[in-house]
Amino acid sequence: MSARPTAWALFVTFFQIAVSGFGGTLPFARRTLVDRRGWLSAEDFTETLSLCQTLPGPNVVNMSIVVGARACGWVGSVCAFAGLVGTPVVVVITLGLLYNRFGGLGVVRHALVGLGASASGLVVATAGRMAEPLLRSRAAVAAPFILAAFAAVALLRLPLPWVLIVLGPLSIAVVWVWRRRA
């Protein structure tokens, strides 16, 4: 980290990331933290992201916690988190109120039907982009677990925590053995 940001700078920066991050904040987080502020190098960012992805919870939220903690301890984490989440929470609740008030109107319903279809398509693309590198580098050990997790949650509708508790350790063990052999 080139410059040690203050708690206030953390709050302001993550606020900027939040309000510019339409349809996903990660690209904006990278641009802001690496290119504009220079708080993280490109390698640092990728590594921090892999930490945030390994842990449960929203990735960008985890990133605010880690970046904040490295700069100013838990105060930094709280400030970065508040900057990232505070305003968007107010915005979505306002939108929710509007939906309750006007959601029955034809024009709003029609718009939301289109938005919903598009938003679900975006998640299809996210799934594809996440699956692609795994299938490319280690399809034999990854594909069975992708399919098993999909079948258990989407088709059988089993509770997700149980699926994770069973498949997670199994998949880790398979990767471990596979890497030993390779």
């Binding site: 979505v92 939108l95 679900s120 997700l160 498949l167």
Partner: protein, 177 residues
Amino acid sequence: MKTSDTLVALAVQFTSLSLVAFGGANAVIPEIHRQAVDAHHWMTNEDFTALFAIAQAAPGPNFLVTTLVGWKAAGLPGALVATAAMCGPSCVLTFWVAKAWDKYRETAWRSAIGAGLAPVTVGFVCSSAFVLVRAADTGWRLVAVSAASAAVAYFTRVNPLWCLLAAGALGIVGLLS
């Protein structure tokens, strides 16, 4: 159900989801949908799709759909409880693990955990896509909108907001119903 019962149910549900949401909120969408629509009847399928779309279109992290689910279930207290429950446990965990992480960065077991959880997470995100598409696409025109959005987001670097705006506009002029 009494409001206090709903708040407890929200807190329990999202606290446990917080700790299994590897890969972010998109991975636990099927579970949120199952609880909110099928188990607790807090909302209809159509409501869920609309709230998810609102959360996607609004600025900020995508996990804010949990805020809206909480709000729909129990008003403002529900929104705050759901948001805090979704973030709290994973944030505390992240804070402590981040310190240890810097220490064990190079170890084989650390990277095996990440590599092993990845395909399961991808399977969950695929499930989310499946659940959302099934809930949203009630006719062939909507299937086409989903497919077009997926293709644009997968193959290009266009800001996804444009897909959402275009789909909303198509809906408003009545081409989708």
